[in-house]
């Protein structure tokens, strides 16, 4: 044991739920048992981003990446890797496309093709220790900012071309400038950590894994704007993020990064956390502020914009977690450094959350302008179980489903909006050939209509009626004219709704209608669900030629609708069949036909 080693164990929400804490305990015990506790340290970190392969651990300095680790694997890792310096090969990540093992995290395709600076610390520092952050150039951006005038800081962020990562992509520097120039002595900054899109968890990753980067970003923003108070509005469903943020705020106060006369600059700033109460719409900035003020989280009409009259009527600047977390890097390395990443109008990097039928579920950070194909196939490792790619839902319930013909699109704000989707918060939900696009449209609309605040008529009533129509189509009760009704209603909802939720909620329907109209027509005209998802449209029968009469289907049928003599072809009573599919699953002779 010549060298010191650090074992970075992912203890983010995903890995924690699959046993990371037990792994940490066993690791610590085993290290003591082997007497190597002086040279090996175990660091519980935030999310490594490689959620599909969790729990993951990285051993430094070699940067060996072990995946899907169980507590039973620990003695072997300690004995073989830590003591003898030999790789535990069976725990290495095997690239699903090349079938080759990756010996280090850096040479796995998943990490190698990313550009991680917002996620730089996530998974590599202990988020509960401010010193870890400071040792990794933490608070240097703030130190630089405090040497500049507030106007210069605003200009630097403008020059960097940073755009809001919460979804709308509004230029951050411009927004700061509005708030800075708004008259008033009392101003607020807010971090929108009410991440709620299905399949999006990048903000959680940053808050859990690198909370000080958010605090530093908010400090820089507050200094630039002239605010002395801030709030982090975090959804209550993120207890670990809230815990790490609370610890980070306390440590930053103690270290003098929060409070009065920060770094002897005369700048004062205090930060508080408010936990949301479970409403998706509170991610909308006016609803979010209403919620902080203790009112029902419902959006209000703009103008006045928060920069003029925000929290408690004071000028307020709201940015989301990823935006705030990007700011220290700009102030630390300069706008010119930042603008080397991205496209002409979308600068820097963006974190995407890969979920759905993709091999490498997780968090990835890539420069703006990377193609969907690169993200999904090179980094994401392609589709699970070798199935065919069908669509990717980008931008959550406000975004749209894009088909394979759009895979070479560059991911940036303007390109995606033009294609009928949006960058949104950065959720990428991947669908394969077994996904029904009508069902998916219904799913996202179900989400939006349930999360509508109910204030404006088109969103409250219109989304419900769109859902009603989609529901009828999935049950084979649709009419061809329903498609026109859907499109007309979608356009009215988009054009007349009060806030972003309603203005974007029909997007998944419009996009699926645009790219997958044939599937809608199959449901309506042929009463068939091409992906075999919509149960009301399925029929199960048994191929008499193939059936051996083994009886396995009948044994497993939960409603007893399959009958037949032993060694004779069986029959399904279609009137009693609940279309659960267990006969199809159990049949060893492919005799069950699903149409």
């Amino acid at each position: 044991m010549a060298e010191n080693k650090r074992i970075l164990v992912c203890a983010g929400t995903g890995c924690a739920s699959s046993g990371a804490h037990k792994i940490i305990d066993v690791l610590q015990e085993e290290i003591v048992r082997q007497g190597i506790q002086d040279s090996v340290s175990v660091v519980p970190t935030g999310c490594h981003g490689f959620c599909e392969q969790g729990p993951t651990l990285i051993i430094e300095p070699q940067q060996t990446l072990y995946t899907q680790v169980k507590s039973e694997d620990i003695p072997e890792i300690v004995a073989q890797d830590l003591m003898e310096g030999k790789l535990v090969e069976r725990l290495l990540y095997i690239d699903p496309l090349t079938q080759k093992p990756a010996t280090t995290f850096a040479n796995s395709n998943f990490f190698a093709k990313q550009v991680r600076f917002v996620l730089k610390n996530c998974g590599f520092i202990d988020p509960e220790k401010i010193q870890d952050y400071v040792d990794n150039d933490g608070y240097k951006g703030l130190a630089n900012a405090l040497k500049m005038s507030p106007d210069e800081v605003v200009e630097e962020v403008k020059k960097a071309g940073l755009r809001g990562r919460g979804g709308a992509g509004f230029p951050t520097g411009l927004k700061w400038g509005f708030c800075r120039n708004s008259p008033g002595n009392k101003k607020y900054v807010i971090c929108n950590a009410d991440e709620g899109d299905p399949g999006a968890f990048m903000d959680r990753g940053v808050l859990e894994g690198d909370p000080h980067s958010v605090i530093e970003g908010m400090l820089i923003g507050a200094y630039a704007i002239g605010a002395d108070e801030g709030y982090v509005y975090c959804r209550a469903e993120y207890p670990l993020a809230i815990k790490h943020m609370e610890i980070a705020i306390a440590q930053a106060e103690e270290a003098g990064y929060l409070g009065d006369n920060i770094m002897n600059s005369g700048f004062n700033f205090r930060l508080r956390i408010r936990a949301g109460a479970g409403a998706f719409v509170c991610g909308e900035e006016t609803a979010l502020m209403a919620s902080i003020e203790g009112r029902r989280g419902m959006p209000n009409v703009r103008p006045p914009f928060p920069a003029q009259s925000g929290l408690w009527g004071k000028p307020t600047n709201i940015n989301n977690v990823e935006t705030w977390s990007s700011v220290p890097h700009i102030l630390k390395n300069g706008a010119d450094w930042y603008t080397q990443y991205g496209t002409e109008k979308s600068k820097g990097t963006k974190i995407f959350a890969l979920t759905g039928k993709i091999n490498n579920t997780g968090l990835v950070e890539v420069p703006m302008g990377t193609t969907l194909r690169d993200i999904l196939f090179d980094i994401g490792g392609g589709i699970q179980n070798g199935k065919a790619f069908k669509a990717v839902q980008i931008g959550g319930p406000s975004g749209g489903c894009l088909p394979d013909s759009m895979l070479d699109l560059q991911v940036d704000y303007d390109t995606l909006t033009k294609a009928g989707a949006m960058v949104g918060s950065g959720g990428l939900v991947v669908m394969d050939e077994t996904t029904c696009m009508v069902d998916i449209a219904r799913f996202f609309l179900d989400f939006s209509q349930k999360e509508s605040c109910g204030k404006c008529t088109p969103c409250r009533e219109g989304n419900k009626r769109m859902w009603d129509i989609l529901d009828r189509i999935t049950k084979g009760e649709g009419k061809l004219e329903d498609l026109d009704t859907l499109e007309n209603l979608a356009l009215v909802i988009k054009e007349t709704s009060l806030c972003g939720l309603g203005q974007n909620s029909p997007n998944p329907v419009l996009a699926t209608l645009k790219y997958f109209r044939d599937e809608f027509e199959a449901h309506i005209l042929d009463h068939k669900c091409p992906a075999h998802v919509c149960t009301a449209l399925l029929t199960y029968s048994i191929d008499e030629e193939k059936c051996k009469g083994c009886g396995l289907c009948a044994k497993n049928c939960p409603v007893g609708c399959i009958t037949g003599e032993k060694k004779e072809p069986h029959k399904i009573d279609a009137s009693a069949c609940i279309k659960c599919g267990s006969c199809l699953e159990k049949c060893k002779f492919d005799a069950v036909i699903r149409l």
Partner: protein
């Protein structure tokens, strides 16, 4: 004052800075349908029926919360705007009972009026409709949540007119409801039954209980008068059918706007009550007997004069009533000081 010139439906109009597009239209007799707007309340921009098309602005902005700018070009009636309004009305009607024939609000319902104006059929959207219990546990207000269009006017009236904030939204999306906290019935809440919520409700969701079945809007004559309950001088409308007061509704009073209190709005039962005193009564041989006004006034004058003569002016004391008008109270004061010759006068509102 700075003035802006704008074009509405091809017509050039001039309005002061700070005017909303809706106000500009109404100032110039250009009709815009609204369900959630009330000039007395802050604008919520919720019903979206007042949408218009404005050159250079994305989507269809609601005119009630969009301020006029110099040179603005507004279209209020083009096919796109009208079709969007019709869709919004169809959506509201699809989730609204079509029992207009028996609805108390018939003839006075904004939703019915606009549905008619825009040729709404009520058949375009089919599906679930609300089915919630009616709250009629209190003596004054009937709340039928199934007729509610969630315009939020009652919530703002309760907050901004009466200052009670008893009402708010609950639940989300299609399931949204309006009512007191925890969905309590009105009589278990902090409601003071001022009825401001009823007065602003554009549909039949909130109606006056005592007016049920008493008359249709077009059968009733509205007689604007001053409330007799106190000296505030609130204006109100007596709703008169066949010479009888069958209800009281808000009017736009100089003193009170649309606000009334529980007594002013709901306390009119005395008007046609059989026990109501219509002539003076004089106690004769221990029994109260009807008398003429001349007889009664003479008797009072005689007795008061006797007291003044025998015991002096200060033996008389006068207590005036809050149910008198300011003018009546002034006259009482004059009578006491100048005629009775005493300063012994007070008023029940001071107690």
């Amino acid at each position: 004052m700075e003035w802006f010139t704008l074009t509405i439906d091809g017509r050039e109009v001039c309005v002061p800075k700070g005017t909303t597009v809706l106000e500009a239209c109404r100032m110039n007799d250009i009709p815009i349908p609204t369900l959630c707007h009330d000039p007395e309340l802050t604008s919520a921009g919720a019903c979206r029926l007042c949408i218009v098309q404005i050159e250079g602005m994305r989507n269809l902005p609601p005119s009630c919360v969009t301020q006029v700018t110099q040179g603005m070009v507004v279209q209020t009636q083009n096919p796109k705007v009208r079709e969007a309004r019709k869709t919004i009305l169809e959506l509201l009607v699809a989730n609204h009972p079509l029992d207009c024939m028996t609805c108390q609000k018939m003839g006075d319902c904004s939703l019915a009026q606009y549905a008619y104006d825009y040729g709404v059929t009520g058949e375009r959207y089919q599906g679930e409709a609300r089915d919630l219990p009616i709250d009629s546990a209190n003596p004054f207000i009937i709340k039928d949540p199934n007729k509610c269009i969630a315009c939020g006017k009652c919530i703002r009236a309760c907050d901004e007119i009466q200052g009670r904030s008893v009402l708010d939204f609950s639940f989300r999306g299609f399931d949204v409801q309006v009512g007191p906290a925890f969905n309590l019935p009105y009589n278990e809440s902090d409601c003071v039954f001022c009825g401001s919520c009823v007065s602003v409700c554009p549909v039949g969701a909130l109606t006056e209980k005592k007016m049920q079945g008493k008359g249709r809007r077009w059968e009733m004559e509205k007689v604007t008068t001053t409330c007799p309950y106190c000296g505030t001088g609130c204006s109100l409308d007596l709703n008169v059918k066949n010479g009888k007061v069958v209800g009281i509704t808000s009017t736009d009073g100089d003193v009170n706007g649309s606000a009334l209190c529980v007594k002013g709005r709901f306390g009119y039962g005395f008007i046609h009550h059989p026990d109501r005193l219509k002539t003076p009564l004089i106690r004769k041989d221990g029994k109260l007997v009807e008398a003429s006004w001349t007889e009664a006034i003479n008797l009072v004058a005689e007795k008061l004069s006797a007291v003044k003569e025998n015991f002096g002016s200060d033996a008389i004391g006068v207590l005036s009533s809050a149910r008198c008008t300011n003018e009546e109270n002034y006259l009482m004061n004059k009578l006491t000081r100048a005629v009775f010759g005493t300063n012994n006068i007070d008023h029940c509102a001071r107690l």
